[in-house]
Symmetry: C2
Subunit: 232 residues, 2 copies
Amino acid sequence: MIALSQLVELESRLGVSFRDKAILNVALTHSSYLNENPGEAAESNERLEFLGDAMIGSAVGEELYCRRPGWTEGQLTQARAALVKGATLSRVARGLRLGDYLRMGAGELAGGGSQRSGNLEAALEAVAGALFLDQGYDATRKFVVRVLCPEIDDLDAVHLQNPKSTLQEAVQANGLAPPTYEIVNATGADHAPSFTVEVSVDGEVVGRGDGSRKADAEQRAAAEALDKLDQS
Amino acid sequence: MIALSQLVELESRLGVSFRDKAILNVALTHSSYLNENPGEAAESNERLEFLGDAMIGSAVGEELYCRRPGWTEGQLTQARAALVKGATLSRVARGLRLGDYLRMGAGELAGGGSQRSGNLEAALEAVAGALFLDQGYDATRKFVVRVLCPEIDDLDAVHLQNPKSTLQEAVQANGLAPPTYEIVNATGADHAPSFTVEVSVDGEVVGRGDGSRKADAEQRAAAEALDKLDQS
């Protein structure tokens, strides 16, 4: 078991106090550690990582749903994906210095495992899963929202609310002509139409979106194009 | 608003009673309905679908985590994916006859929208999201676990616990020779090895898996092969 003084130090960093320290101990135990020290924890943090991944998804989903009543399902989904992706979670875990408290095998540690993004993301998820088991959903939601707060605030300033203008800025910053939008399909009766729009940059289709209004379809096409740009 | 008698009938079917019937009304309102009848609900069920999707993921995750202490993270993840996929959720929604209570536009209804899988899945997710807002996480988890119970029970009988034997049965049922397993990579120090195994059927590689034990890597390779078979 990790020294109690270490666990308490981490708890103060996390802003939570576990009733059952053993579950926090499991959350900080990388599988490589148990391979070398069998019996030093009930199991590694992998199953807690599974549980915490779901809880972070719900906590972030609830927060976005309540805080952004004007956002469409598509905007909420896009925002949640940005918040729960590995790059975001590992950055948050790094800010909390979770890596300093992780137990891992000698080989993993020597290879820089305590600062590896995958291990940090997994540790944050496992801590959320452990907190859920220890204190339930509401306490977990509060913790997740608190540690992700700067990231959630940042989202508002970014392109989620208006993908079209963000795409236009990004494209023009690269010296290209503004994106063009074209309706490639329109179906449904007059009272319930459905549009499909494609957006092109420099003559190439870079995104596609559907919507019951042309403006919505355009925003979704622009959002898809921005997603691709982010990944490339 | 949907007639109160209808809502109460559905509640009895679902085994829950909403404090706020208006939120259940929203959960049953397809966007096509609001296009034709603006103002008949605060919004369509799309945002609730987003919220409920996350809540179902957490409820199923918690249930699997607690009920299957011996399953690895990989098995839990695979089981959850099978339970929350559209085909499963729409089948459950169909069993609850959710489609009979959905409000949609005339065009969508005439096109068979009340029995469309996508609409049914969305309605079940929206009902879960509405229940979460009305009664919180624990009530939602109980509802989700209850309606998904037969599907969760089925999982146990299927291939999750032992992908290798399930794959072998499936392959032999097709008159082929048993699958073969090969270690294609082995790294790590002696005390913390890592294996990569490929499984082949009829001379073709059909799955690949990693693990700190050869047996785990083989099970994961078999699970991947089964996933591919399911999708093909």
